[in-house]
Amino acid sequence: MPSVVIQSPGLLTTIQDSGRYGYQRFGMPVCGAMDLLSLELANILAGNSPHAACLEATIMGPEISFTDDTCVAVTGADMSPCINGKNVPMNTLLNVKAGDRLGFRGLISGCRSYIAFSGGIDVPMVMGSRSTYLRAQIGGLEGRALKPGDVLPLGKTTEKPGIKKIPDDIIPRYLSEQTIRITTGPEAHRFEMEGIRNFLTSEYTITDRSDRMGYRLSGKPVIHHEDRADIISAGIAPGTVQVPGDGQPVILMADRQTSGGYARIANVISIDLTLLAQMKPGDSLRFRQISLDQAQELVKERHMILACLAKKR
């Protein structure tokens, strides 16, 4: 069976797909790729289903060797990928031979790279997904981050090869300062005008207490009415922005808890959540509010672009 071998894992490399749905009512987080756009692009290149399992590498990439001839694609953060020491392009279908080594020289932009292999990573499904959930140690490979010597089996390659290259205009630019668009949240009315103004006009820095579960921001406090930071524990959507009592917003990401007890001021729109996933501690952002109609139009537009791209195979 073709497989890939992890020579060195990088900083934090896990197996992720498009997430684990259907179990949130039991408190099971969705998990999956932080940047679902890059996951899908990598899979389109490799000729896989858009939801197939890939590697998600964080800040510092892994080194991987191949047991068989296969195809591989790297999307998302540019960590200067190279094969046998020779630079190779991002967002492109790459042919590799048995014994080749894929490595990364260092981070140039973004935060998370997605590495798709032809056939996808074929670890066992756990509750309908191959995503790794580190906190409960399930999914992926033994529910953990990868380590040297791990062997990852690849699935069956489809007849149809992937496309050769992702068109440049689809690939987002990753900046260390971004405007992130939001729609208004269920408890926006619980905040003082001044708090809302701070939220929408000032700059917030992503703190180093940020991970796959959530991004903790620091900036001008978002002030609640009187003492109303707490709500009755309720559902959290991808990109929900909660504000605890200290007024510093937290954006809930892929490994978010299914429910939370802080006022939900806003929601990052789906499209921009993929951009946010490429931001790292120390980067800064500003929020801009748009309407729900606009946000959903953007989702539909992206869906159409990706569907067209996948059809080109």
Partner: protein
Amino acid sequence: MLKHIPSGDSAFIIKAGDEISEEINGTIRKLLIRLENEKIEGVIDFIPSFNELMICYDPSVAGYRILLERLKSCETEIETAELPEAWVVNVPVHYGGDYGPDLQFVANHNSLSPEDVIRIHHSKDYLVYMLGFTPGFCYLGGMDQRIATPRRQTPRTKIPAGAVGIADIQTGIYPIDSPGGWQLIGKTPLRLFSPDQKPEFLFRAGDYIQFFPVTEEEYIYIDKMVNEGTYHINRTKRQ
């Protein structure tokens, strides 16, 4: 009255009230059953909580206006609809000792004997209002005020799966090993979350949990049966 509130571009909330009550929570569970039976196109998941139902959907399949219309058409007479009969799940607990290192503290805090705390804790069943926080964690309602105890000042770095604890007026069971600040009074050998078994979760919202005390020998015996997959969990219809 049900309120409909969008929560981002891919989730919708139906809110049934502003407080924690069995009645409001019952409405949420009835809504979940009805909406799930409808198999609404574009809906990918549900998160029921105390007083809300979050509906997660794919906006490239159905926009919020279409979804809202579909949701509303399913909600007629929901508040007067019957809930299915509830199950009572009997949960063995060995109280005190190494299994419940804070039992004495809870007793002292409330000027009770450890035996009183145990008796009060298992003298009634508890409604599972919702699950959340960690996979399989149940938010239980209705613990007796007489054994209420604040969280530990210094949380423990590792609490084993199965630990039964008290935090203020709540009681609960840790489903997976995790850090936490609850006062631990006992431990159950049952597995609340087993990702490689069906069903993966022991409880669902709407169940009732009835704790019953077991000796250490019984605990060890049940634990062995649970590991071998031969323990039969006692579930009864609630009267």
